[in-house]
Symmetry: C2
Subunit: 335 residues, 2 copies
Amino acid sequence: MDIRGSRGPAMTDVARLAGVSHQTVSRVLNDHPNVKEQTRLRVRAAIAELGYRPNRAARTLVTGRSQLLGVVTLNSTLFGPASLLAAFEQAAAEAGFAVSVASVVRLDRESVAAAVDRHLDQRVAGLVVIAPTASAGEGLAALPAGVPVVTIDGDPNRAHGLVTVDQVAGARAATQHLLDAGHRTVWHVSGPPDWYDAAGRIEGWRRTLQAAGAEVPPPVQADWSAAAGYAAGQMLARMPEVTAVFTANDHLALGLLRALYERGRRVPEDVSVVGFDDVPEAAFLIPPLTTVRPDFAAVALAGLDLLLAQMADADAAPGQIVVEPELVVRNSVRR
Amino acid sequence: MDIRGSRGPAMTDVARLAGVSHQTVSRVLNDHPNVKEQTRLRVRAAIAELGYRPNRAARTLVTGRSQLLGVVTLNSTLFGPASLLAAFEQAAAEAGFAVSVASVVRLDRESVAAAVDRHLDQRVAGLVVIAPTASAGEGLAALPAGVPVVTIDGDPNRAHGLVTVDQVAGARAATQHLLDAGHRTVWHVSGPPDWYDAAGRIEGWRRTLQAAGAEVPPPVQADWSAAAGYAAGQMLARMPEVTAVFTANDHLALGLLRALYERGRRVPEDVSVVGFDDVPEAAFLIPPLTTVRPDFAAVALAGLDLLLAQMADADAAPGQIVVEPELVVRNSVRR
DNA sequence: CCCGGCCGTGTTATCGCTAACATGAGGCAA
DNA sequence: TTGCCTCATGTTAGCGATAACACGGCCGGG
């Protein structure tokens, strides 16, 4: 159906009312310099009177560029992607862009490629892809040249714009915080190892332990869910030598806390726990969770900046921005 | 390499390669009946060979309708809206529609109207508005006629398509479950009262208590956050007569659980708690949370159905669909 | 005093598609 | 055979914008 029952006013209608040519209307709309102030006002008045709004499709057709930005994200309620999307849309709207989403159930190459395709069909002016695994990154392989792309938490070796959270630094802060509290070593419940995020956190954790000369226990591999954290916790809770655990995100920590509780291991008295993400609930777990906070809004903004830069200058080398996370100390680490 | 400049192949390029007119290509693309099978195949081959993809902007321009659906949602990581968006995008993609998002920081009329406007600029073919407050609904007042709109959890008295979760039934199930467990009455920590969701849950809770002849304590007003649940819990924990609490969502319950824990009130032995939403973490709280699960995917699907129905027949009365939530019994209610 | 350049504006040509009408080849009833 | 209708396809005319060029009037410099 039409957006209006009949098609609404077009540029020529405005032009007729203002007594100018449609081209002059176009100039007013696009803030061209050479329009007399008086004419400009007359045109604006006509626009207001008719309630005219420019037809983006027509503009897109003639310019070959839309005012649409595409986001490819994981179809999930994972805190990171959801926060990112919200922040990105907000920033994009302020910059005059609309945002279209294509979500993906799995991060395999085909799914991502299909989502990207849907966006290309829409002639998006640029693409933000949350591509936290190598397989997701492969979905970008067949991308036609000339489409500005920024990946979030993607492969640093691909030739796209890239925004990442400094996972290694975040993990280091968490691990060091636990070591500083006097723990001999720190165990780690990791995210899915094919995620760059998870890999970075593992690396930061491991390197920190090594630098401190601490033993590096085998990481407990999980996904991002509370269920997996609970499962990991059931195992770790039985091991008396485990006194400090760094989990790859807060949901894992939540599951872990429950498992520790059930086994009668007190947090932080018996076991210290540090999470990652700082979900809004983290401060209200039992006990309040010490965690690492990545600034998702900053990531989204950085992504938009990179995208706009690529759109402005297609030949420039795509930039990379790293956002530093911050340790938020609460009450889940013994002192 | 390129067919014409950098704009990629157009319909005429396909036509030339297939030895037909561009109109025939159009007919093949749109599955028109009167095309010889042989021609159809030749055209498809040409499309594949050139990697041609139709220009949606041109199609939108000439037909006056886009293949874009707009979603207006709250800029937040609230579980409900986030789940809905994800499910909706998935369903829309399968139906051949792209989804553009406009999020809103506050649910006041101006913000919602601005978000709607952004979508109208894009000539969306239909609109889904998550409008859980009266003020948000007002943002739809100035909508031009002819735009198919479905609101989610919106005002039942507005003349739009509407999908709601049966909040009253959900709250009744939760409250009744607590009464059945032997509690004399049930306290309620409510969501923001200007939300229809919150109002419905309050109503279901109150009516259930009244029907059972139980005393109706004053609802404790909160927002949707764990922080507010914690604050409410600090108060309720001090009142020995409080033995059963129904919270308007799971995050509130999480905060409440922590407050009860700190005051030494055991759940479910001393106090029973029931939440709402069934976030993935609910099963891993201390103790596992009994809660009410609305099927967000079903809501999203229903919304899309309603939208497509309106688009197919603009004169039909907009439908309303109510989705029944389900009580998920875990371990936070004494037996 | 004349001429070139800038300013403000109009005219025309696309962009890539679909809708509407045109065309021509067969098939079948009269 | 003569229409006339049905396929299968082609031709033409926009949709509503921007881009490129055209065109007078006014300005300032030689």
